[in-house]
Structure formats: structure tokens, C-alpha cells
Symmetry: C2
Subunit: 355 residues, 2 copies
């Protein structure tokens, strides 16, 4: 039923009575080949169930027809929603999507320099990755175009990127709670990740902060409070590792102080879920006793009926990869930074405070 080896361009050439070069041109719909022979070749290719050997084409053209996507844990719903947008575009293109999950610090150190190579990919999409100073060296020296989605470092404006205005988002989210009548508003966010890399201690000094979205959202929070004349209390601030459980414990503590907040703004939906859990454990009902608001609007937010500030996750992936494909074809052009809008989605975890 099947031949020993898959058909090559030479097999087709022999049958068609032409040379491999002509077959190649015919297959790539070059105008340099007569319509008649092109059809003949195409027909033979079809019959032979021919499909071009990617490795050979890659070697020959110097293009890889692959784009690399670097993500941290892609089980995070926000990350996988972004990936979904990337896939939606890429599955209709000739590009392969190769995934690199750089989660552990060990992978990370060899990660970027290993991935950003023209022998491997034509372009890279870096999604929601915390970036340390020494990474930037590799980015600057990258031979392939890079697009950042949810860029975590303000120093990287030299690259294309898709971001949101986290400060504004945090500001508007907090404003909504204030408008509801809350004045005791807690904030629970995630800490700057400390990647332990002893050999770069010095470099780290230059860039001591790895800016996270959480931090920016907190800035917006403070701005909103200030404008409303509400003092900012350290008692109403909780910071820990990213995650459901961590946020739960932080909220648990915050809700047990003497004068607990009547509303909590969590830096992400996942963390908001932790807050909800803690509140329930303390017998508080939501939203009557405590308003909770998140950020992202991941799928589960709808399930939990969580009020949250939506960001266009899917869209960010779509736009990001479009930018990248463009950067791959155009040689030189200006770098583009697209800021996607956010939107408040009101569900059932927020209400005016009890009087």
C-alpha cells in the first residue's frame, strides 16, 4: 500500500520528466513554470501523496517555519487563554508552534539563549514571563524577532509588545469599590519573584525590582484611594507568592484584624478565589459582609460569579502573534507597543458595604 519511503521532489521530477528544480518551482507556485507542466506536476504530487520535507526546506531556505512560544506554567488559566489566541492564528498558517515551558530557574538559565536561535525558530513570543536583568542581554542579542505578551519589565520597550495599563486597571477597579461606598479596602497581590541566581547578584542591584502586574495594579489602587481622600493602611495590604492558597492565607489574616476591610481587591482572579475561600471559612457571606473583586476574567470567574476587571487574554495572543508574523516578514520597522483595554465585569461578589 505504501512505498518504502515518502515521495521526494526527485521522484516527482522523474515521473514528470523534468528536473527537481522545476518541480520545486511548480510546487511553490512560481510564475517561472509553464501552466501546463505545473498542473502535471501538481497532479503527480497529489497521486504520490507528496509532502515536502520540512527539514530540507528549512535547511535550504534558512527559515524554520516555526515560531517559539515561551511561557511559564501554562496551566495558569490566564496563560492558556492567551495561548489559545496564538493557536487560533497559527493553525491557519504554515508555521509550527513549538512550546517552551520555562518554569524552573534551572531551565531558565539555559532557556532563553537556547531558544532564541534562528536555527530553531523564526520568531519568539514571550508570554507573561518574569524577566530578570541578565535575560535582557539575550533579548538584545537575539537574531530573531521577539514579541512580548504581558511584558513584565518596563525596560523592554525596544521590543514589540502587547500589554495592558495595569495602573489604570487597578485604579478603575478600586474606584468601583469606592463608588459602592467602601472605604476600608484591602489589596492582596503577589510578590516580586526572587529567582535565586547567586552569580548575578551584582547585576540584580541595577534592577532590584522585577515589576509585576500586581505591583502596578497596587499603584492604581493607591492612586484611587488618595484621590478619594482615603488613607492607605499597611494593614490592608497583603503580599505573597502567586497562588490560590497563598492568597487564601493572606486574606485569612487580613480579615481577622480588629477593623477588617469591607472589600478586597485581589490582583488576579485566582487570588480572589483564595480570598473568597478565606471569607467563607470565617463565616462571612459574600457580597453582604465582604466584597471581593478580581482581575483578569478567566473562565472560572464566570463560574464563581466573580466581579472582576477583564483583560482581553485571547485577544492578546492573537494580536501578539500577528505582530510577530509581521515582524518576521518585514525586515526593519518601528517597534509597536499595543495597550489593550480593560473592562469592569460586574457579577455577584461585590455590593455596597453593610451600614
Amino acid at each position: 500500500m505504501s512505498n518504502k519511503h515518502t515521495a521526494t521532489i526527485r521522484d516527482i521530477a522523474q515521473i514528470a520528466g523534468v528536473t527537481p528544480g522545476t518541480v520545486s518551482r511548480a510546487l511553490n507556485s512560481s510564475t517561472l513554470v509553464k501552466e501546463e507542466t505545473k498542473l502535471r506536476i501538481l497532479k503527480i504530487a497529489e497521486e504520490l501523496d507528496y509532502s515536502p520535507n520540512l527539514a530540507a526546506r528549512r535547511l535550504s531556505t534558512g527559515k524554520t517555519f516555526a515560531i517559539g512560544v515561551v511561557v511559564p506554567f501554562f496551566t495558569r488559566p490566564s496563560v492558556s487563554a492567551r495561548l489559545d489566541g496564538v493557536v487560533s492564528i497559527l493553525s491557519n498558517s504554515q508555521y509550527d508552534l513549538v512550546i517552551h515551558d520555562i518554569a524552573s530557574p534551572k531551565q531558565r538559565s539555559i532557556g532563553f539563549q537556547d531558544v532564541l536561535r534562528p536555527e530553531r525558530i523564526d520568531g519568539a513570543l514571550i508570554i507573561s514571563m518574569p524577566i530578570v536583568h541578565e535575560d535582557i542581554y539575550y533579548f538584545n542579542n537575539s537574531k530573531v524577532p521577539i514579541v512580548f505578551i504581558d511584558r513584565k519589565n518596563p525596560d523592554l520597550t525596544d521590543f514589540d509588545s502587547i500589554i495592558i495599563d495595569d495602573v489604570l486597571g487597578g485604579y478603575e477597579t478600586t474606584q468601583y469599590l469606592i463608588k459602592l461606598g467602601h472605604r476600608k479596602i484591602g489589596f492582596i497581590g503577589d510578590i516580586t519573584e526572587e529567582l535565586t541566581k547567586p552569580e548575578t547578584d551584582i547585576k540584580k542591584q541595577e534592577n532590584p525590582f522585577m515589576f509585576t502586574s500586581s505591583r502596578d495594579r497596587y499603584k492604581g489602587y493607591k492612586k484611587a484611594l488618595s484621590e478619594a481622600g482615603i488613607p492607605i493602611s499597611p494593614d490592608y495590604y497583603g503580599e505573597g507568592q502567586y497562588g490560590y492558597r497563598e492568597a487564601r492565607e493572606l486574606a485569612f489574616q487580613m480579615l481577622r484584624i480588629d477593623d477588617p476591610p469591607t472589600a478586597i481587591f485581589a490582583a488576579s482572579d485566582i487570588q480572589a478565589f483564595g480570598v473568597i475561600r478565606a471569607a467563607r471559612r470565617l463565616g462571612l457571606s459574600i457580597p453582604e459582609d465582604l466584597s471581593v473583586i478580581g482581575f483578569d476574567d478567566i473562565q472560572a470567574a464566570e463560574l464563581m460569579e466573580l466581579t472582576t476587571t477583564r483583560q482581553l487574554l485571547f485577544e492578546s495572543g492573537r494580536k501578539g502573534v500577528e505582530l510577530l508574523l509581521q515582524a518576521i516578514s518585514d525586515d526593519h520597522k518601528e517597534h509597536i507597543n499595543i495597550t489593550l483595554p480593560t473592562e469592569l465585569i460586574i457579577r455577584n461578589t461585590t455590593a455596597p458595604p453593610k451600614v
Copy 2:
């Protein structure tokens, strides 16, 4: 700072004063090269920041060093949890992971024959894909090894696969509800997907059912009820498209009949969330008025405190890719079907029925 082109094996050879062949052997830690020269070559390679050109290596060896993963919507939490397991293994190997999202029927028709090619991948992992009869033709003719994770079709025992015993899972899940004292137990599951492919109507006749996990879990449900002497009522059965909203509507209807169930077994966690939502909307409190139990134990299940039957999603990905790597190296061997265990996880959405 950087050379015009990335260093090749020839550059190294020239500097080291040897031939490319020797460099190749040195780099691949062949024993055929003297320790001394090997070290010298390695050092030069390091200095030149050499990294092998994958395309060339692929063309030369005939191996692609890539494995293809075919998934439907990978935003589904259960799918992405499985993928996570795959990645955990692959990121420590020399294999690239290329993702193919075959969701729409259009992509599907060209999908498998396009993907399962030795020029593209060394092996394929097919995860949670509904399979129609005509797909099987491509699987049987595949030149690359295939491993199914969460295989959806009983005809595919000729391939390696990682599955769970859905009948048993459904059985035990239902048994738990019975043990709690429930006798009015509803089931909400998802329907056999109808892939509209007019040209294959005839073939479809031969295999009219596309078996889904949901169906098997329902079998287990029926078995448990029968053994307990509980009659099976069509009023307590709901079937619709997979999804949160669909399940919510089904549950909404089921809970409004004259003698509604006191417990509902949903075929997946996502669907269980829909049931919970419907119950809340009807003013029923959980678990007092209604017990709800799911299946899968996705991350959100913990957040929702959902009682559910856990399957080892991450593990399925891990084991699946291990099987595949093995199949790629061993030429011939028996096909392996691994059945992973399930486990009841009791949280807060189940309780004895009110008396």
C-alpha cells in the same frame, strides 16, 4: 559583538584543525574520538557559542526531534493539565513539542494526514480527541508511532494508550452518593459530538456511536443504581453539548420537575459547576438541598470545594509521552494500554439528603 552567521561545525573544525566529521563525533560524545581533541573541540564550540543547526541534523539523521501533540481546545482545564504533564517530561529532553489544535471540523479533515508525517514529527500524542471512523484510516497508515491519551474510541486498542476506566469511575462515584443515602440521583453528561461530514455518511453508519467518557460514566451510574435496586428514570438524565452553560440549563430543568433529584452526578467538573449555578439560582443550598459531584478534579474543583472523582490528568500526560518516547526508540513492541486509577475526593458539595 556577534559574527555574521552563527557558528557551524566547519568553523569549529577549521579552528581546531580537524575535519567536520570529527567535530560532529566529538559533539555527540562518540567514543571514536580522542579525549584530548574532544575537549579542545568542546572548548572552541563553547567559545563560539555554537549550537547545532536542527534542520541540518534532522535532514541528515532523518529524525525530526519533534513530537506532535494533537489536542482539541486546550483551554479546557483538563486538557491543559494533561499537557502540563507532557511538557514536564519533554522540556528535559531534546525533543521539541509542536502543538496542533484541531478543533474545527475543517481543520480536522486535513489535520491528521497532515500531522502524522515522519517528515514533521517522530511521534504523535493525541489527547482527548473525538475520533470518527475515517480518522482511523490515517492512524493505521501512520508512519510514526502514536499514543492516545484519554482515547475516545474503543476501536483503537491497536495503539498505545493511557485511559481510565470510565465505567468503574462512574460506578464508584454513584455508589458514594448512594452510600450517603441518596436514592434520587440525577446524571448530567455530554452528548456524542456530531461532526458534520456529509461525504462520510456511509462510513458513519458502521460506527454510529462515538463513544465519549460521559457515556461510559453513565454506564457505571446505571450499574450502581441497579445494584442498589434503584430504578433508572429518564427524568433524571440530562444530555447536551459539553460546557458550563449547557449543563446549567439542563440542571435547571431537571431541578424543576415534580420530584427532583437530591443529588446530581455531572460527567465533568465543568458541568458540575453548571449544576451548582443552576441550584443556586433556584435557591437551593449545597450540599443541604442538593448534593453535587463532578469528575476530573481540575484545579477549579478545589476552589469550588467540589466533591469529585479525580483522575490523574498530569500523570496521564507524563506517562503518555514516556510511552511515546519509548515507542520511538524501540522499533517493534507490543502495544500498551495503561489504565490509570481514579479516586474519590470528598469536599463540600455532597452530604446525606435531608429527611
